[in-house]
């Protein structure tokens, strides 16, 4: 391969000062590996929390929202804008249930974006065992669908969730409830609903999520059991939970479903505003740390090239006297910066990957989290390399331009 004389000079300068070259590329290497490591940690953590939030929140929740009476019907009756109607808006007295829930579910399932959907009846209840009463809420579900969507099975501490379908009036309770009421699988529990109905149920399983609030209050029962506990008929459904093929489309699909059904469809982003805020804050913190790292690496390169230029100023003058143009001199020094950047960059990518890999094997063992969540996401590596090369070129450009402006006469004549 024929390399240009500029490249040859640049390479000779780099190899004749190995120590400085290595130090400069170490700076880039650390910058890039930290970039990759931190991005992987951040994405891994964010993905983990996102996944965690889906263990108890569906991508979209469809429910009937309390409405305040308005006068649009009256207005259309009078049909005269000059008429002023005085009203006293009141909460509408309406059922919390959805009208024709199974029809709605049929309709939603036709949407290709929808992966899973299941109805649910939620009610506030009092759990009683002996003389102890505990407030909580009970979810009447189709347990098979529920398991498919939220992986209830992985949270089970004891018992079998499928017994919910086999045993009449059976219940799955949170570990907090079980501890407080001293219940085990196979024991009986009395559940009282808000309207005074009571039901004796058998505990067929105990689950433990990592969220204490849920473990202390939540229970699952068959949808029909909850319907009868609430004194409602079989078509009483308070909400429909929908999971999508791609949860990033949740807001758009939620709007579509809202338009079609006329009920409130809340997507997971709205339901988890604080999660999104935490993501943003983490991103800002990490990006500023990475920015500082790359800036420091950039200054390292700038400094070393600047020093080189002071050291080599006579040689630059000589090259110019021999007919090297300003742009050739710029090319010589810019190439040095680029080689430092590429070298440090490639080693940095490897180091970043190994660091990420090693850290992903650190055992945490808190709640359902076994190992540190790290993501191996190719675009991070591409981004890191681009950033690294951009920084080195930017840092190399100014010294290189300075070198190109060296006036040979003043330098040679002293």
């Amino acid at each position: 391969m024929k390399i240009s004389v500029n490249t040859e000079i640049a390479l000779t300068y780099l190899t004749s000062r190995k120590k400085q070259t290595v130090v400069a590329s170490l700076g880039v290497m650390f910058g890039i590996s930290m970039f990759i490591f931190m991005q992987s940690l951040m994405k891994g953590t964010n993905d983990y929390f996102e996944k965690m939030s889906f263990t108890n929140t569906p991508h979209i929740r469809l429910y009937s929202e309390n409405k305040v009476a308005d006068n649009h019907m009256l207005k259309s009756y009078f049909n005269d804008p000059s008429e002023k109607i005085l009203t006293n808006p009141k909460q509408l007295n309406q059922s919390l249930g959805l009208t024709n829930p199974y029809g709605i579910i049929e309709q939603i399932r036709r949407n290709p974006e929808v992966a899973n959907t299941t109805p649910q009846v939620t009610g506030n209840v009092l759990y009683t065992s002996g003389s102890v009463e505990l407030p909580g809420n009970m979810a009447g579900v189709q347990i098979d669908e529920e398991d498919k969507m939220f992986d209830v099975q992985s949270n089970m501490v004891s018992g079998n969730l499928h017994d919910l379908n086999r045993v009449h009036n059976s219940i799955l309770i949170g570990k907090g409830i079980a501890d407080k009421l001293s219940l085990h699988t196979g024991d009986n529990i009395t559940v009282r609903s808000g309207n005074g109905n009571t039901l004796m149920m058998r505990v067929v399983g105990i689950f433990s999520t990592t969220v204490k609030q849920i473990d202390d209050t939540k229970s699952y029962a068959n949808i029909s059991a909850v319907q009868s506990l609430m004194g409602k008929d079989r078509s009483y459904v308070t909400e429909i939970k929908i999971n999508l093929v791609n949860y990033m489309n949740a807001s758009k699909v939620a709007r579509d479903i809202e338009t079609i059904t006329g009920y409130k469809a809340e997507d997971w982003i709205k339901a988890n505003e604080q999660l999104k805020a935490a993501f943003k804050i983490r991103a800002i913190i990490l990006n500023s740390v990475i920015g500082v790292l790359l800036l420091v690496a950039g200054f390292g390169i700038y400094n070393i090239l600047n020093m080189t230029i002071y050291e080599k100023i006579k040689e630059i003058a000589i090259l110019k006297a021999q007919g090297f143009s300003g742009s050739s001199v710029t090319s010589i020094f810019l190439q040095q910066a680029i080689y430092i950047g590429v070298m440090g960059g490639i080693v940095g990518l490897i180091l970043g990957f190994s660091l990420t890999f090693m850290v992903s094997k650190i055992y945490i063992g808190a709640g359902t989290l076994k190992y540190l969540p790290m993501s191996f996401y190719i675009p991070h590596y591409i981004q890191a390399l681009c950033f690294g090369i951009f920084t080195t070129v930017a840092a190399g450009y100014f010294p290189a331009r300075k070198a190109s402006k060296v006036d040979p006469v003043t330098i040679i004549r002293g």
């Binding site: 004389v5 000779t12 300068y13 110019k320 006297a321 021999q322 007919g323 090297f324 040679i412 004549r413």
Partner: protein, 228 residues
């Protein structure tokens, strides 16, 4: 007219720092192709300043300069760099080799820059030139490892590698002993006689000057005698 290697007319130059001072006053000179010219004069008379203007490195002057009948005054820096690369070889008082490169590489670099020869040919030419000065056995050593005299000879070889029409020297033998000075002088003489290359050297060495084709004597920024 067409056998002029270099023609300078009305060259005037000022130094601005620390105070404005005229160093060259309306210098007119012509150098024929194949001529061996020495410029002598006391320190500070402006002879080196003149040489740097003639070499196109210094562009801050009044008057006009023609090299090989091409006007060099007012050309862009990149064009001047190309002219220097192609038709001017420069030898300095101090060798100014690139110490990180081998002697051979040092000599090759201007040839590679010019790009007329392949890498292999440039290498051969460079070796040839080193041989002319008897330093071919040092070819692969780093330039920084050579003795002063050897370095200066490598530097002269470097100035000759592109077979420039004009070779300029600012005290080219200033760092050489009398034996080496003799070698260099004979070579310069040979270059002008046999290869028709033009030589312009600034020197303190009266003896060196006397033996060249023509001596230009300068004093106070002017040429005071100009024997034709």
């Amino acid at each position: 007219m067409e056998n002029l290697a270099l023609k300078a007319s009305g060259i005037t130059k000022y130094f601005h720092d620390p105070v404005k001072m005229q160093v060259l006053k309306e210098i007119n000179m012509e150098v024929k192709k194949g001529e061996f010219v020495s410029i002598i004069g006391k320190s500070g008379c402006g002879k080196s300043t003149l040489l740097y203007i003639l070499s196109t490195m210094d562009t801050d002057y009044e008057g006009t300069l023609e090299i090989n009948n091409v006007l060099a005054t007012g050309q862009s820096l990149n064009n001047l760099a190309r002219i220097r690369n192609e038709s001017i070889g420069f030898v300095f008082q101090f060798h100014y080799l690139l110490p990180d490169f081998s002697c051979l590489k040092n000599v090759m670099i201007p040839a590679l820059r010019l790009g007329k020869l392949s890498y292999k040919e440039a290498e051969e030419t460079a070796y040839e030139k080193l041989k002319m000065f008897g330093v071919e056995d040092q070819a692969l050593k780093k330039a920084g490892k050579l003795s002063g005299g050897q370095q200066q000879r490598v530097a002269i070889a470097r100035a000759l590698v592109n077979n420039p029409a004009i070779i300029m020297g600012d005290e080219p033998t200033g760092n050489l002993d009398s034996k080496n000075t003799g070698i260099v002088f004979d070579l310069f003489k040979q270059l002008s006689k046999e290869y028709g290359q033009t030589l312009i050297t600034v020197t303190h060495d009266e003896d060196f000057a006397k033996r060249s084709d023509r001596t230009i004597v300068m004093a106070d920024g002017q040429i005071i005698n100009k024997p034709m």
